[in-house]
C-alpha cells in the first residue's frame, strides 16, 4: 500500500501534474486534499498554521474544516470522524501535541477506521516555541509511525503514503515537518485532481470502547505490528542509501533525516567536498526504524556520523542495532559531542561537522561585522496590549505585584520599558500559576494576563479552579478579537468559522459570570485614566476578579489618523519613549518624533506626554 503501489500515488507519479510554487505547509495541505481528506481539525501554532488555512481556502465544500478550541478537541473530533471511516487530518505545533497527548495515547490502542494523519510541526531553534521537543520521540513513546519529510516536495508526496499506511494498519500516523520544511517554498509538481475517499459510516463495535482488558490485547498487537511496519519501511523509497564508486572500499557513513539530510547533500555537493568517499543513509521514517535498511548501510562501515536536529533519535536507533547485532561500528553524533545538542542545524553547522569528520579543510570563517542594532520583537505601534499593560502598571505603582503572562503576542509585554510579564509557562498557565503564587505569597497582589483565544483554548478550567478553590487573583483578559500571534485565526469569541459560517459569538463575560466571577467590566484600554481606575478597583476586590480589556488588534482594523509631535511644545523629556516603547516613536534632533507610516493613532502617547506636545487624531 505504500508509495509506488497504491492507486492514488500512481496518479501522482504518472498522471496529469501541475507546476506550483508552494510553501511546505501548502504542499502538506494539497497532499491531504488530493488524498481525499474528508475532515481537517487543528489549533493554530507556528510553524503549522498555514496547513489548515490552505485546506479551508481551497475547499470545494466537500471537506469539513474547523479551528478547534485546542489540540485535544481537534484530535478527538478527528478520531470520531475516523471511526466513521472518514480520512482525517489534524494539525498542530509540537507543544500542541502535549495538549492532545491524552486522546492520542489511547487512540494508538483503540485505532481508527478512516486514515488519520496527525501533522505535528517541530521547531528546532526554537524559533517561536517554548521547547525543542522532538515529535519523533513522541512517536516512539506512543508507538505510532512517523514520516519525517526533508523537503516540501517530499511532504506533499508523503501525505498520500501516510493515509495509506494509517488505513492499512488501522492506526493514526504522524507527519513531522520542521520549521524549514513548513515555511520553505519550492517549485514542485503536484496532481491536478483529488482521489475522492468514500466514507463507510460508523459501525457499532465493542472495539471503540477502551477497557483495561482490551488495552492488554491491543498492546500485544501494537508490539507485534511495530517491527512489521519497520520492515515495510526498509523498502520505502524515501528511505535510501547512496554511495559513490567502489562502495566496498567505503568505511565512513553519514546517517541523516529531515532538512539535515538536505544540508548534508548541500555540503557533499560543494566543490570542496568533491571526490569524498562516504556512504549516506537517509531516514524518512524514524519510527518504526527501518532496521533491515540500516543493517545494509552499516555493513562494511567502521564509523557513522549522524546528522539530525533536536534529539539523537536516529543515533540511538543505530546504537541499539550495533548492540543487538554485535557490530563494531562507532556511532557519532549528539551523544558523542560531535554535533550540537541544542538549537537548529544549518548548512554551515553541518559542513563544519562533516568536514572535520571527513578530513576536509575547515570552512571559511565569517568576517567581523561592525556593531549592529538589535531588533528584538516588540508589540506593534498601536497595539492595545501596550495600553492594557501600561494601565495595570500605573494602577499597581508602589505596590508589590506579580504579573503572570501567557502565550500570545502579549508575551512581548515582557520587553522593556513595559516589563510586565514575570512568568510564562504554557498555554493557559498564567491563571493557575498566579493562584499558586498567591497561596504562598498572600500579601502580594497577583495578576494573570490571558488573550481571548488562549482563554478559550485552556484558560477556562483555570478560572473554575480559582473560583472553586477561593484564590485571590485578578485576571486581565486581553480581548483583541482575534488569534493575533499566529496570523489572525477566528475563535469561538469571533463567531466566524472555517466553513464560512457565522455562529453565535461565545461571550467571555458570560462565561466568567457563570463560573462565579462577579462584576466583570469590559473596558477600552485606550482610555488610560478609565482603564487604570478599573484595575485599581478590581485589584482591591477580594477573591477572583477580572477585567476584559477589549480593543481590536491593529491588523484587523483600519488605522486612525496619525498623531504628531509639536516640536515647540516637546521638551525632549523622552517620557513617551521610556514609558511606552512604541516602535513608531523615536528621537529626532533632541525632540520626539512619530513616524506617520507606523502610527496607528492609538493616542496613548498623547495621554502620557506631560507637556501636552502630542496632538492628532480627529
Amino acid at each position: 500500500m505504500l508509495y509506488g503501489q497504491s492507486e492514488s500515488i500512481f496518479v501522482l507519479r504518472e498522471g496529469i501534474v501541475m507546476q506550483k510554487f508552494l510553501m511546505g505547509n501548502e504542499a502538506i495541505a494539497w497532499g491531504a486534499i488530493h488524498a481525499g481528506v474528508n475532515l481537517v481539525c487543528g489549533y493554530p501554532g507556528t510553524p503549522s498554521t498555514e496547513i489548515l488555512e490552505t485546506v479551508a481556502k481551497n475547499n470545494d465544500g466537500s471537506i469539513y474544516v474547523e479551528w478547534s478550541v485546542n489540540e485535544k478537541a481537534a484530535l478527538e473530533v478527528a478520531a470520531g470522524a475516523s471511526y466513521a471511516g472518514a480520512r482525517t487530518l489534524v494539525t498542530m505545533k509540537q507543544v500542541g501535541l502535549n495538549v492532545a497527548s491524552d486522546p492520542l495515547m489511547s487512540l494508538a490502542y483503540v485505532g481508527i477506521n478512516g486514515g488519520m494523519v496527525v501533522v505535528t510541526a517541530d521547531d528546532p531553534g526554537p524559533i517561536s516555541s517554548q521547547t525543542e521537543q522532538d515529535t519523533r520521540h513522541f512517536a516512539q513513546f506512543a508507538k505510532i509511525p512517523v514520516f519525517d519529510p526533508s523537503s516540501p516536495e517530499e511532504a506533499y508526496a508523503m501525505m498520500a503514503d501516510a493515509f495509506a499506511l494509517s488505513e492499512k494498519y488501522g492506526i493514526p500516523v504522524f507527519l513531522r515537518p520542521t520549521t524549514r520544511i513548513c515555511h520553505g517554498c519550492a517549485s514542485m509538481e503536484i496532481a491536478d485532481r483529488k482521489t475522492p475517499h468514500k466514507i463507510e459510516g460508523f459501525e457499532k463495535d465493542p472495539k471503540w470502547t477502551i477497557f483495561p482488558g482490551l488495552s492488554y490485547q491491543n498492546h500485544k498487537q501494537i508490539e507485534a505490528r511495530t517491527p512489521v511496519i519497520g520492515s515495510e519501511f526498509s523498502s520505502y523509497p524515501f528511505n535510501h542509501i547512496s554511495c559513490g564508486d567502489h562502495p566496498e572500499k567505503v568505511t565512513k557513513g553519514i546517517a541523516a533525516g529531515g532538512v539535515s539530510y538536505e544540508y548534508t547533500r548541500e555540503t557533499l555537493g560543494r566543490s570542496d567536498a568533491s571526490g569524498t568517499r562516504v556512504k549516506v543513509m537517509k531516514i524518512a521514517t524514524p519510527h518504526p526504524f527501518p532496521e533491515k535498511l540500516a543493517l545494509e548501510f552499516l555493513d562494511g562501515l567502521t564509523e557513522v556520523m549522524v546528522i539530525e536536529e533536536l534529539d539523537p533519535v536516529i543515533e540511538r536507533e543505530l546504537l541499539i542495532l550495533c548492540g543487538k547485532f554485535h557490530l563494531t561500528v562507532t556511532i557519532r553524533g549528539k551523544l558523542t559531542g560531535d554535533v550540537q545538542n541544542a538549537g537548529e542545524n544549518s548548512v554551515e553547522s553541518v559542513q563544519t561537522v562533516l568536514h572535520k569528520y571527513l578530513g576536509l579543510p575547515a570552512p571559511d570563517r565569517d568576517e567581523e561585522l561592525p556593531k549592529l542594532p538589535v531588533r528584538p520583537p516588540v508589540l506593534c505601534a498601536g497595539c492595545p496590549h501596550r495600553a492594557s499593560f501600561y494601565a495595570v502598571k500605573q494602577a499597581m505603582k508602589g505596590r508589590k505585584a506579580v504579573f503572570s503572562g501567557d502565550i500570545g503576542c502579549y508575551t512581548l509585554g515582557n520587553a522593556k520599558p513595559l516589563d510586565m510579564v514575570d512568568t510564562c509557562l504554557c498555554m493557559g498557565a498564567g491563571i493557575t500559576i498566579a493562584q499558586g503564587l498567591g497561596h504562598v505569597e498572600p500579601d502580594v497582589k497577583h495578576f494573570a494576563f490571558i488573550g481571548d483565544s488562549t482563554f478559550f483554548a485552556s484558560g477556562i478550567t483555570g478560572v473554575v479552579n480559582a473560583v472553586y478553590n477561593q484564590a485571590d487573583i485578578t485576571i486581565i483578559i486581553l480581548d483583541n478579537s482575534t488569534t493575533a500571534m499566529t496570523g489572525h485565526q477566528p475563535h469561538p469569541g469571533t463567531g466566524k468559522t472555517m466553513m464560512g459560517n457565522i455562529s453565535d459569538k461565545i461571550s467571555i463575560p458570560a462565561i466568567l459570570e457563570a463560573i462565579g466571577v462577579k462584576d466583570v467590566p469590559a473596558i477600552n484600554p485606550m482610555n488610560l485614566a478609565i482603564a487604570t481606575e478599573a484595575v485599581e478597583k478590581a485589584a482591591a476586590a477580594k477573591g477572583v476578579s477580572a477585567i476584559i480589556f477589549k480593543y481590536p488588534c491593529i491588523a484587523v482594523t483600519k488605522p486612525l489618523p496619525a498623531f504628531k509631535i509639536n516640536r515647540d511644545d516637546c521638551t525632549g523629556c523622552k517620557i513617551c519613549i521610556s514609558e511606552l516603547g512604541c516602535p513608531a516613536i523615536s528621537m529626532n534632533d533632541m525632540k520626539a518624533y512619530i513616524d506617520p507610516s507606523l502610527c496607528y493613532g492609538c493616542s496613548i502617547c498623547a495621554q502620557v506626554c506631560p507637556c501636552k506636545a502630542i496632538k492628532g487624531g480627529r
Binding site: Q19, F21, I127, S128, S151, R180, I181, H183, G184, C185, A186, S187, V259, E262, Y263, R265, E266, G269, R270, S346, V347, E348, Q351, P363, D364, D366, E367, L369, P370, K371, L372, P373, V374, R375, P376, P377, V378, C380, A381, L412, K416, P417, A555, I577, S578, G581, C582, P583, I585, S586, M587, S597, L598
Partner: protein, 205 residues
C-alpha cells in the same frame, strides 16, 4: 548555473513579497526555485531575511554562507548583517535609509547609516545605493520600496532576470489596483541604479 539571492529588511517592508516575485519570475522561465524566510517572533520591527535559490542543484532551503551573488538590502544595517552570505565579489543593492529599532530610541543601540554603507562598499564587489524614500514618494506609496529595489537589482546586471520578467511576475501576483504603481517603481529603481553606475547618483549620501 545556480543563483542565490538574499533579501534583508525589517518586518513590514515587503521583503517576502519581493522574494515571491523573484520566485515567480524564475519559475515562469522554467527554472527550479526554493525560498525560505527567517523571521523573528514579531510581525513588525524584527529582522526578516528571505533566501531565494534558483537552479537544479539546490538542496538546502537557505543560502549557504559565502554563496549569494546578490544581496538586496532594504535597510543598511540589515544588509551588513547578511554580508556573511555574500560570495567574494558579490553585489549589494541597498536602500540608504536607516530604520532605527525601538531599542535604539531607548538608548541601547544606535548606529549611523553612512558607516554601514561604507562598510558595505569595502566588503562587496559592487555596491548600488538607492534613495528609496525619493522613489516611494515619486510613486506615491511607501509600499513600493521592495519593487524599486528589484528594479535596481535588475540594473546591477546580476539578477539573471529581465525587467519584463519581473514585470510579468508583478502582474501575476500584485492586485490590479497597484500594478501600475509597482511598474513605475520597478522602472524608477532601475533608473536610479543606472544613474549611479554612470556616476550621478551618490550625491545624496
Amino acid at each position: 548555473m545556480d543563483m542565490n539571492f538574499i533579501l534583508a529588511g525589517v518586518g513590514g517592508q515587503g521583503t517576502i513579497l519581493a522574494s515571491k516575485l523573484l520566485a515567480q519570475a524564475a519559475m515562469a522561465k522554467g527554472l527550479r526555485v526554493r525560498t525560505a524566510e527567517t523571521i523573528g517572533m514579531a510581525q513588525r520591527g524584527g529582522c526578516v531575511v528571505s533566501h531565494v535559490r534558483i537552479g537544479e542543484n539546490v538542496h538546502s532551503p537557505m543560502v549557504p554562507k559565502h554563496s549569494a551573488g546578490l544581496i538586496i538590502g532594504f535597510e543598511p544595517a540589515e544588509a551588513v548583517r547578511c554580508l556573511p552570505f555574500l560570495k567574494k565579489g558579490g553585489v549589494v543593492v541597498v536602500c540608504s535609509k536607516a530604520i532605527r529599532p525601538v531599542t535604539s530610541s531607548l538608548g541601547d543601540s544606535s548606529y549611523e547609516a553612512a558607516a554601514m554603507i561604507s562598510f558595505l562598499e569595502t566588503n562587496s564587489g559592487k555596491l548600488i545605493v538607492i534613495d528609496g524614500d525619493k522613489i516611494c514618494s515619486d510613486c506615491g506609496s511607501p509600499k513600493v520600496l521592495n519593487v524599486a529595489l528589484l528594479g535596481a537589482a535588475f540594473a546591477s546586471g546580476d539578477l539573471g532576470l529581465s525587467i519584463d520578467e519581473i514585470g510579468a511576475a508583478i502582474r501575476e501576483r500584485v492586485s490590479a489596483a497597484y500594478i501600475e504603481m509597482n511598474q513605475k517603481a520597478l522602472a524608477a529603481g532601475a533608473r536610479a541604479a543606472e544613474a549611479q553606475a554612470s556616476g550621478n547618483g551618490r550625491n545624496f549620501l
